[in-house]
Symmetry: C2
Subunit: 244 residues, 2 copies
DNA sequence: CGATGATTCAAACGTTCGTTTGAATCAGTT
DNA sequence: AACTGATTCAAACGAACGTTTGAATCATCG
């Protein structure tokens, strides 16, 4: 029954590809089906025919690519832990299990992968309701799995502190993946040479590893609550909290 | 010449307030003037009358609030450096000069400040062209000024490396300010207690300071270029680069 | 009070949006 | 060649968009 799917699949692919780069460029809400289908060189009605709706299209874009990416992360971590035979992993190894699959994606032909990664990075700050359903579902397992690994490697770190530091880590990663042009402003100096995805990630790993390993400030070792100054020694004198 | 501006200013204020929280909630493109004016309880035409266009409205939202915020950051840093009388500042002090003004804003009445901060955090990943003009202009001086300070406190760090680490730092901060609900998924554990803006920032400072101070990997100490493995010792054995 | 200029308002403008429709086209089977 | 089901297409749908308009309303001052 109908092996003429060749064209249909082509059409689907063309739409997905065009949508990916346009969503990345202008965001979900600001990208119309008309420009998507124009860029893909297919009929306007093709999106609703093949995907059902604009929302289902963006959902498919993410699920098709994010699923394998996160699966690869977990697989990478599994392999590392099997090799370690029970010993805790180095922080750098754990971070690499998160980042290496990203680099793999970034090397897809025609910059398709790089485009998706920027889209993904931005998606974490996109307020579109659709995305706020998709992302947590796709990331839940990854977060649980990596938190286990980090807990074993940082046993002295309180659970809440680790949760926040993971939050910081994923935040940095998502922001860097978004490849924010707006903050190319930081490039007061020239960033000309080998600053491709791989070089950036190699810079990122020591940064994140050091952050995860950071000593607790005196405030955090004993009490969770801020406020009320005492004579306790602190890592640094802070203006923060002065107005409490 | 017309001192009946009382009502006009009220209307402007009401629009700005409504726009701020709606842009934060749904993004720029997905927020219509009709819902803004409905929430502000003013006439639809009031936006074009008082601001000229939707684009001018969002521009005003940012310039009115981001200008003072960044000015406070620079002023804070100036004060610290004056007190230090030529000695380099501690990394933590410099980070605090960035963060303390944010906390100040976060304490504005009726959560107005907190709403703006989330809007600001998201703006860095918003692809709207308007924002891509506004933000770099607003941040340029801050970046230059803080980079100077960090260079003095981290003299051994290559300029490019510092640029990237500042990028990471601003990325983390913007992501955390965006207060991403989507990544509340990370909260596998409960984050119930004192996790207000102040507590979060106090957790963030040691994380960022450690990241900025992180040792260079062996790869970065000598050569800027990635690729080709040599016998050099490295901070950690990496799967990244294995496919180079 | 009547004139003046700033502000509000309801209504409409033209455009663009996501989606639907029904006929035309295509590939594969009988 | 005729039929079938999948796919494409041009056209249109109603809804929502940002913006404009011109009259109504308001506060202020001569």
């Amino acid at each position: 029954m109908a092996e003429n799917k060749n064209q249909a699949i082509d059409t689907r692919e063309k739409i997905l590809c065009a949508a990916e780069s346009l969503f990345m460029e202008h965001g979900y809400a600001a990208t119309s089906l008309r420009v998507i289908t124009a860029k893909a060189r297919v009929n306007l009605a093709a999106v609703n025919y093949h995907f059902g709706s604009k929302e289902a299209l963006i959902r498919e874009v993410f699920e098709l690519r994010l699923g394998p990416l996160n699966a690869a992360r977990i697989a990478h971590l599994d392999k590392l832990e099997a090799a370690a035979r029970g010993r805790p992993l180095a922080i750098e190894q754990i971070i690499e299990a998160i980042i290496a699959p990203v680099l793999h994606v970034s090397k897809e032909p025609l910059a398709r992968g790089a485009i998706f990664l920027r889209l993904l990075g931005r998606a974490f700050s996109d307020p579109a309701d659709t995305l706020r359903e998709i992302l947590p579902a796709q990331y839940r397992q990854v977060v649980i799995r990596f938190k286990q690994a980090l807990t074993r490697s940082l046993p002295e770190l309180p659970d809440q502190e680790l949760t926040w530091r993971m939050h910081f880590m994923f935040g940095t990663l998502s922001y860097i993946m978004a490849g924010n042009d707006a903050l190319k402003l930081i490039a007061t100096c020239n960033l000309e040479d080998g600053d491709d995805a791989e070089a950036i990630m190699r810079r990122l790993i020591p940064f994140l590893a050091a952050g995860l390993r950071a000593p607790l400030s005196a405030l955090q070792t004993k009490r969770g609550l801020p406020g009320r100054r005492s004579g306790m020694k602190r890592v640094h004198e802070s203006e923060i909290g002065a107005r409490t």
